[in-house]
């Protein structure tokens, strides 16, 4: 589903990624770790075509995105649900509309959308806040909205950048459980985090990023 072959990324003279290769299959749930500034977010950005690799090849769902044209990018992005590190919620939309937006892209019928959105808001425990605006919610609540938005369209890939950064243990467990659940249905889930306790002892695959390379690739 996600294939990196000898990918490098540098900004001007700053080398962030150097010769990164890995292969994630359908239904994989993988953690991407490494110290702050290691390039986790940058690696995710390469996947959703926000950044272009300086060299190497990236394949998402059999599409070579290292050579993709601008016009085809939306198509690739619709395969990917993103939990942004900085949330990126729409402040002029209600919680409901924030989650509904990716379903609206395809012109889905409003009634159908309501069903999907409410189901997911229920799962993340935010059904009570449907009509509120995200900026009136706490950090943890906002994070759960972002997670709901990323999952609602049942994408082939979910990229979660510090998805539990603002959550208490209870909520963090709920979210991890949801991510596992969706990966069992075949979605490839890549979680960037430096919280070791999220994956320690879970048996999940971990890609440890350091000094611009994947320093270790192991099962936790």
């Amino acid at each position: 589903m996600i294939v990196f072959s000898n990918v490098a990324k540098h900004f001007d003279n700053k080398r962030v990624l150097h010769d990164v290769s890995f292969d994630l299959k359908n239904g994989d749930l993988v953690f991407l770790t490494g110290p702050s500034g290691a390039g986790k977010t940058t690696l995710l950005k390469l996947i959703y075509c926000f950044e272009r690799p300086s060299s190497g090849k990236i394949i998402i769902d059999n599409i070579d995105i290292s050579a993709i044209t601008q016009g085809k990018i939306p198509q690739v992005r619709r395969k990917i649900g993103i939990v942004f590190q900085d949330f990126r919620l729409f402040t002029d939309k209600t919680v409901f509309d924030n989650v509904a937006v990716t379903l609206q892209f395809n012109g889905m019928h409003p009634q159908k959308i309501r069903g999907y959105v409410n189901e997911l808001l229920e799962k993340v425990g935010m059904l009570k806040a449907t009509r509120e605006f995200p900026q009136h919610l706490s950090g943890g609540e906002q994070q759960r909205i972002v997670i709901a938005r990323a999952m609602v369209s049942k994408p082939k890939v979910i990229l979660a950048d510090e998805p539990t950064g603002n959550l208490d243990d209870e909520n963090a467990r709920t979210i991890m459980h949801l991510l596992k659940e969706i990966s069992l249905k075949g979605t490839t889930v890549l979680i960037a985090t430096h919280h070791k306790d999220l994956f320690q002892g879970s048996g999940h695959r971990v890609l440890h990023l350091n000094n611009s390379i994947i320093e270790s690739d192991y099962a936790a």
Binding site: I73, Q75, R78, R88, F90, F105, G107, R149
Partner: protein, 294 residues
């Protein structure tokens, strides 16, 4: 279909959020369109006034000197029998002189320089109104001039042609003026949509990251632009209608014959104004949106 629904909803939400901005734009657009329409109506009215006026122009036929009464009457009968001519007025030498005297008033003494009466007798002819095309009038005049005992035929040709050039100039001016207004309105919507775009750049960026189709991002902005143009146009239509009816009624109170001169505003114009406003602002917002690289 649903996409259009979402776009409409999103557009109207942001129209409401940015209501003051939109209001200013709508007023600017409606003022622009109003001025344009007023100008067009002025041109149309002037054109039709000139048209009607030119139709009331008569042909004046001056008779040769030294025709006998019988000969003059014979010519008059001929005109009266002509099916193209609706009215025949005979003006004798004496009446003509009298007319000139009253016209000159105290200056009439200069007429005494002449021995006797220098003015010819004449006929004033009105051509039937449905035959009043400049070309036909010219032809008729030429035919009459060839008749016996006719000295000269005059009709308001010079007048007509200079009025025609005046309307032509006005029409050309109206086209340029319309072009100017078009550019102005396009520019107004272009700027406003660009401002909206900048204010929402973060949200638009997020939409792009989520994989929104081009139309999902662009359609609301286009709808907003069109909304401004069409509402602006509708406002100027309403203003135009009110002012037109008021002026029409007021003038008609004093000068009832005005109803013959001022053409009533064609209904389609009231529809055309909002439609053209919408088109102009659509062009503006389309150019502004071209800046969304995606």
């Amino acid at each position: 279909m649903n996409t259009l629904r979402y776009a409409l909803r999103s557009a109207f939400k942001s129209i409401w959020l940015e209501k003051w901005f939109n209001l200013i734009a709508i007023f600017a657009i409606s003022i622009g369109l109003f001025i344009l329409c007023a100008f067009v109506m002025l041109t149309v009215n002037m054109d039709s006034a000139i048209q009607r006026w030119s139709k009331s122009f008569g042909i004046i036929v001056y008779l040769s000197d030294g025709l006998s009464r019988e000969e003059e009457e014979k010519a008059g009968d001929k005109f009266r029998q002509d099916p193209d001519i609706s009215e025949v007025n005979y003006i004798s030498k004496e009446t003509a002189l009298e007319n000139v005297r009253t016209a000159l008033g105290s200056n009439s003494l200069i007429l005494d320089v002449f021995k006797g009466n220098p003015l010819p007798s004449s006929f004033e002819l009105k051509i039937k109104s449905d035959l009043l095309e400049p070309a036909y009038v010219r032809e008729k005049a030429a035919k009459i001039e060839k008749m016996n005992g006719i000295k000269e035929v005059q009709y308001g040709e010079k007048w007509l042609s200079s009025l025609n050039t005046a309307t032509k100039i006005m029409k050309i001016f109206a086209i340029f003026f319309g072009g100017g207004i078009f550019v102005a309105i396009t520019f107004i919507t272009y700027s406003i949509i660009k401002i909206f775009f900048h204010r929402r750049r973060d949200d638009i960026e997020t939409l792009k990251l989520l994989g929104a189709p081009r139309m999902f991002i662009r359609l609301p902005l286009l709808i907003e632009g069109m909304f401004m143009g069409s509402v602006g146009g509708a406002l100027s239509s309403i203003a135009l209608f009110i002012i037109y009816s008021l002026v029409y009624a007021k003038i008609a109170e004093y000068v009832p014959s005005i109803k013959l001169i001022i053409t009533s505003m064609p209904i389609f114009l009231y529809v055309l104004v909002p439609v053209s406003g919408a088109l102009m602002s659509l062009v503006g917002s389309y150019i502004a949106i071209g800046r969304i690289r995606y």
